[in-house]
Point group: C2
Chain length 362, copies 2
């Protein structure tokens, strides 16, 4: 497969899961696109495995907003990720070595192309909907531009038409933490039997701050101390509960997430910018989209703020496209797209009920 | 000197500079308190030294808002800092080794106590004003509580009555980057002839993001590429200008700032919370203040947001204290307190003109 960078992948595998049944017309397929830290395992549990809940299990399943009694849902792990699809920890067939830092840079557009090939294999000409949050929402938007005829509905949640300088800056700090970890070894740490855990911990701690809102951090942790009511007066020990939370999250992440994948996925975020070939004109960029859209944003999401969703809404309106937009007043910041806000889930449920009803009557 | 932590410093030195002349009544002294990355060198230049401008040289000097033709201005470097006053890179007289991580934790209250002793030496019973921005504003506030009779005016700029969980979280990520740098050696890197530059770079890059606003980052850097108009498709090379800017700032910082000082000063920020002994009741906490106050905040400052200044304003009003408050509509984020916003400088100028006039007539 040819990639946006000009590089080629001679061979690759995509991991995917499906839920529900494809109908006879093959008109009920929903593709779910994941963000940084997720996989093809979007719903349900693996039999006999603890803590194996799909990452969007509150959204997708029998009787849920994306109802697998009605829809054939496809979860797919993206190229370059570390949950089964071909990525930097796999062997490069060109030289028999683990790819590591030699895995080619992949873009949102490349992911969408690979997903489209998967649909070819499954015999699905057109998606009832493509759906994602955050970076997953970028993929849903890109689907509507790269394959307009193959997408009836695009559901773009807590997303943006590109990253701001501040977002790129946060990604860059995380990447520098990983790359300058002595255990990174230029991205070929696999051969040295080590993992750049220090860098991954920092990257994840920083990420977590930006996924939460100031408000939710204050209400969950505030200035609560880890132990007792008196300061211990230490610069290195844990003093505040928020420190304990971040260290725990960082540590957990550093054991299971691949450092090269972190670099690749944050770069895909940085690079996504469908208006770039149009000198930044998003109205022109979205002119090729023919899908109907549902966009959702969350008021306290400062990483992918409502104003960024409104840019997409305005560009779609300027193109006279059919769309629904919900701005949910939720306290949870960017993380809200994964949480159980009833108004949010109701919006998605009713949108998918309409998709289903329309499909029944046509 | 006894410290808040219970530790004691057997001996210490404070570096300070003065500007202007102390009047006969010793009634025209202004103490300037610095934030994380600054020193006693608040105004002017050192003869024959390039790039030696004082950090608040736009604010303080002859004819400037804090006019050294009228006032005797004192800049002081705090304990634990790395610009001359006793700190972690100095020798611990108890054992002849460099303090490093053994330097005791210092608090805003400790700094104020040390500053008060300096004023004793200078024979200054009462300050015309104590003034600072950010962490410096916390010191100005703390002066009004620890030594109410010694402060006529407290000027508290871009500050807060304590840090939010999010602010503590950012500090913690920076500290972890430093502490987990293999060159940190538990804080005793001096003996190993190395500096934990990797950690300091990450800390500074992250700091810089939080000192700027999203808006100013977008207008200064946006999504501009470092070279040309086409992506280079690299995860490790610099692609966007914002990356180049942050790496440069981080690198510069890592050469001159002490890692243990970074830990100490961010901890002083975390710990400051004058309402803590009053179960979080800021009104009760500020009841002991008798100074008149000027508070200033900046609309795009998300690290020390206007809402935090308003908490102090409300607590002072509840205590029937005399105060002025200016909320400056500035695009520059937290950094605005160091910049040349004319409305901001005008507010400070007119406040200090009033201090001067009142002093002349009493």
């Amino acid at each position: 497969m040819a990639l946006s960078s000009g590089a080629e992948l001679a061979q690759y595998q995509l991991c995917f899961e499906t839920y529900g049944e494809l109908n006879v017309n093959k008109s009920n397929a929903i593709l779910i696109c994941h963000a940084l830290n997720a996989s093809h395992h979007v719903a349900g549990f693996y039999q006999g495995q603890e803590n194996s809940e799909g990452w969007w299990n509150n959204m997708i399943g029998p009787g849920k907003p994306v109802d697998t009694n009605r829809f054939f849902v496809i979860g797919v792990n993206n190229l370059g990720s570390c949950f089964g699809s071909t990525g930097p920890m796999h062997v490069n067939p060109a030289n028999g070595r683990i790819y590591g830092a030699d895995f080619p840079v992949v873009t949102v557009e490349d992911w969408v192309n690979a997903q489209a090939r998967l649909l070819d294999r499954l015999g699905i000409a057109q998606l009832a909907a493509v759906m994602g949050g955050s970076l997953g929402g970028m993929q849903a938007l890109s689907w509507s531009l790269q394959y307009p005829q193959r997408v009836k509905h695009a559901v773009v949640i807590a997303s943006a038409p590109n990253l701001t300088a501040e977002n790129i800056a946060f990604n860059e700090v995380a990447r520098r933490a990983i790359v300058t970890d002595p255990d990174f070894h230029g991205g070929h740490f696999y051969e040295h039997g080590v993992l750049p855990k220090r860098g991954l911990r920092i990257a994840r701690m920083l990420g977590h701050i930006t996924y939460l809102s100031d408000d939710v951090m204050n209400s969950k942790f505030g200035r609560n101390l880890q132990e007792g009511d008196a300061y211990r007066f230490s610069t290195q020990d844990i003093e505040f509960q928020i420190e304990s939370y971040l260290r725990y999250q960082g540590d957990k992440f550093s054991h299971y997430f691949d450092a090269n994948t972190y670099l690749l996925i944050t770069r895909a975020l940085d690079y996504f910018d469908p208006a770039k070939p149009f000198q930044g004109d998003l109205v022109k960029a979205l002119a090729s989209a023919s899908a109907q859209f549902l966009l959702v944003s969350f008021t306290t999401d400062w990483r992918f703020a409502p104003s960024r969703s409104r840019e997409m809404v305005q560009a779609l309106v300027a193109n006279k496209r059919s769309l629904s937009y919900a701005e949910i007043d939720a306290p949870h910041g960017h993380d809200a797209f994964l949480l159980d806000d009833p108004r949010y889930l109701r919006v998605v449920r009713s949108y998918f009920e309409n998709i289903h009803l329309t499909d029944q009557t046509t």
